[in-house]
Subunit: 420 residues, 2 copies
Amino acid sequence: MSADDDVEKQVRELCREARAAGRRLAQANTAAKNAALRAAAAGLRTHGARLLEANARDLSAAGSLSAAFRDRLALSPERIETMARGVEEVLALPDPVGDSIAAWRRPNGLEIRQVRIPIGVIAILYESRPNVTADAAALCLKSGNAAILKGGSEALHTNAAIADLFLAALDGAELPPAAVQLLRTKERAATRALLRQNDLVDVIVPRGGKELIRAIETESTIPVIKHLEGVCQLYVDRAADLAQAGRICVNAKAQRPGVCNAIENLLVHRDIAEEFLPRMVRALEAEGVEVRGCAETRRIVSTVRAASEEDWATEYLDKILSVKVVDSMEDALEFIERYGSGLADAIVTEDYSAARRFLAAVDSAAVFVNASTRFTDGFEFGFGAEIGISTNRLHARGPMGLRELTTYKYLVLGAGQVRE
Amino acid sequence: MSADDDVEKQVRELCREARAAGRRLAQANTAAKNAALRAAAAGLRTHGARLLEANARDLSAAGSLSAAFRDRLALSPERIETMARGVEEVLALPDPVGDSIAAWRRPNGLEIRQVRIPIGVIAILYESRPNVTADAAALCLKSGNAAILKGGSEALHTNAAIADLFLAALDGAELPPAAVQLLRTKERAATRALLRQNDLVDVIVPRGGKELIRAIETESTIPVIKHLEGVCQLYVDRAADLAQAGRICVNAKAQRPGVCNAIENLLVHRDIAEEFLPRMVRALEAEGVEVRGCAETRRIVSTVRAASEEDWATEYLDKILSVKVVDSMEDALEFIERYGSGLADAIVTEDYSAARRFLAAVDSAAVFVNASTRFTDGFEFGFGAEIGISTNRLHARGPMGLRELTTYKYLVLGAGQVRE
């Protein structure tokens, strides 16, 4: 037996344990799950020193890596407190398991109820930030799913210390500790083996860069809930309130440029471009945003540098915004279809029919009228903590909270009915 | 350029057209879609002779194939009428597109609505029955999805004649004909190319045997909504009404044994086995069902032959039933978890707590109390025509009607809100 076969066997055993634990957790009541979450939050606070010690081992091994990388990896008492509060926030959310999606009665008297149940076993693959270990474990636990966590190798000791607190918390609440599993290895073969457990893992949720996601998608035939890029657009219609459009544009680009729901392209109707663009470009530049533009934009504001074809399709995740003057809303819709990534797009307009047309025509997870795309977020939507923002079309689209970590079954109550 | 490259290019072009047509169809109103469906049904009736002619070509080429195969392939005036009625049934169903799943208002005044929209482009791969061409085209059309159909090579002329009627019907209703596409080729390379169009095909729905589904699943990283096997169980509890249990068992096994929601295993509580089994076996044998059993079953009814380990896990799709005497409901639950395929399982009991426990513990798409598993069906659930019965856990589980052919987006109406 080769070393890889050994790894495969270990991973398979771990997945089997997760499956069995998930079956038990699926039937746990909310009080027991909340008790485990309360204990995990308390554990994070009580054992802060143990976490910092484990983190120091990871940090010292990561000596040669970049400062930004080390910053993502590093824990601090404040970061541990934030993790503990995150767990408590999940604790406070309503439990989706058992909720009725629909219920009806058939002419033959059968009573059918469609109820939410946990998905089963969720594998979460992520990179260096160790807080994902606590966040993902808490969300899976609350929604009754077993979690198989595979974090970055550089964070192994930190992640193991966090996971141990969850195991103890589950055990204390008389729930199966195997419901939170951490792949405690740096071997790439373990991840590869995990991606092959189609019968034991129900869904993979990668949290990390595009390369990680693409690699997983290519390698695995287990369903993947992706969070790919966000190339979001703001369209300022000819009937826009231009002051409002200006505020929304600055917010959507500059309030936090490094996130997926920030805009990358600003589309401006020709009829108001002369009036709007000079002010808008000044306002953006005052926020440190570099503006790139089409020929018409540059004719109106000559200091703007030219946007390339590549610019229109790029998720900068930075203070850069590409601006295009369009002849009509149809042109704006065409641009969004061509370059947008289908995450979030907004129109600013006071024209009722234009708003209606935009809402109907834009095929993105979230479509806004007169509001910032930055609201595309589980907290902002009112879902509470999110496991991510899905760019899939199936199962879950957009912000994914606890509800999106469930599936359903039909319960059918009869009185001896048989089919004719 | 090789021949396969050519095929790849053609398939990609067809998918691109489907994507563009799907975008338009997604925004069509119900009246236009219904007009197209009405015209398609009328076309099937009017051009029956043309369909039979095309079918005759397929049948003559299939001369060497089995009688059962030829029967599946063959059209008749009656089968054409059934197809036309099927299209009309879809026409009569409510259009799910635009339905609100949920709507709420946030403290900052944002109004959020989650609305159903078409999935986009659905590829349906199926085997010889040509009625699937009409059924699938109608369901996709009504739900606003573009359909890419790939039927069995033996049915190519028949499928093409049916698809042509839909193209004409779409055109007549001023909807894009490219929204119903048929892969008009027998080349295996075309199917392979189709399975690679991740950016143009949103989901694959195979309709056919396990081999077809497994092959697609292995080859493609596009999401697949599977309809795999149904190993369904009936558990007769010690508190069952035994006469009712007998009727349900005969119905669930013998009313139509060749379908996925028929039962394969009967589990009987030890306390009532002596009373129940002799009658039950007689009743099953009277229906032509071969009974196989565990040692205890054979002790009680000595004429029963032994069930093997393999029997418990087999979807017979035939008049064969395996019977096991269990010591407790927990044993029944364990059996269902181990051998069941998670499609449909039923308990017969008059014990309230036993019913509750069974409903909670069985993790199948449909769980029945005192009713036949045969009701696991889109029509019987009240959904109307179904594209299949999903054995996936994600997106759609169990009977898939029009609603399951949709996804959603969030519409967010604001008054200038920006994020703090």
